[in-house]
Amino acid sequence: MIANYGFKDGSGDWFVIVDTDRCNGCGRCVEACPANVLEVGDDEFDPFREEPVLKVREEERKKVRYSCAPCRPGFGQEPPPCVVACETQAISHSEGWKVLYGKE
């Protein structure tokens, strides 16, 4: 399942995208995230999934635009720490940050 956590508004798309089929629930990204946006727990969208899965914390879902901005997802020299930490490449970000801040 492709889970899009975040929101879309007049200024762009602000989503943290988790591919739950790739996620193995290891939790390395949770430790790597400086803004404490992520957590590992039961899959809310598939009640029959047994293994824990990565998700964006409920209270962060409406403000990922601001929480994730310091890591510059999608632009800059380095990919954000959560993406670097993930061995299965389950995490990505939508284009909002790139479009808004990416123009050098």
Partner: protein, 315 residues
Amino acid sequence: MVEAKRIEPEKAEFWRWPETYWVNPAIDWHKGKFVTVGVDVGSVSSKCVIMVDGAVYAYSSMRTGSDSPDSAWKVVNWALKDTDMKVDNFDYCIGTGYGRVNVPMAQQTITEIACHARGANFMYGPEVRTVLDMGGQDCKAIRCDDRGKVLKFMMNDKCAAGTGRGMEVFADLIRVPVWEIGPRSFQTQKEPEMISSTCVVFAKSEVVGLLQEGVPENEIMAAYCAAMAHRIAELLNRLGIEEKFAITGGIAKNEGVVKRLEKELGVKTMDRVWFNKDMRTSKIPFDTMVAGAIGAALFAQAMLERGRVKSARKA
């Protein structure tokens, strides 16, 4: 001296949509194995569906009050009104929707996204691939497989633009019952330009401006429906549409929005008839609002059948 007359205010509430409840007389729940219940306490409406072995036995939908547990009790009792079933007869009850944590009779909660996908799969049939839930306060675009499992989802719950609440505000402002807005939006000669404001509050002042300019009511309704369809289309295009496409939630009943959305996307929505043959013959109205609650009841059924949970029946 002439006495000043006090003018009594009109009490009509144009935003108020009809609250309904239905019981399927063809089913005898005493003979059923499992009675499963889905309670969907949404931001605007509360829905309750009672299923007996995977067939809809009764449902109800009414407005959510300020007190979520109270709304849940009210809607459950309303669904039970014409039956001899009691809350103690429920085998398993699942709460969903915005107020899902506040459903006192529920043994478990599941998010509304999973429930709507499952519910649409039951209502429209397994051919559904894209589900759009147009709720009271948010809008969710969901892609699912032939078993109603969520494959991809996207939510727009940051603001009330393009939702049922926006339509209620608009109905109240223009003083037209909310269910008449759809049909009346087509009773106009030309398709006007859509309302340009995204925000409901700004759109409201824009509509007031149009009314004062003397623009006909029907034309303003068309403009508002078009604006709403446009907003929803943006979300769907971001997700990517795969046929077949179905709409659940309250706004699915508004032809004015649905037809314009179809036009904008170039995709037809599925016919709003029950996929299940027994349901079609039972004459239970196809209410898109209860899709989430149906999904919750189906999850309860599946959990009992798979032995993942124990029946909580008390009587």
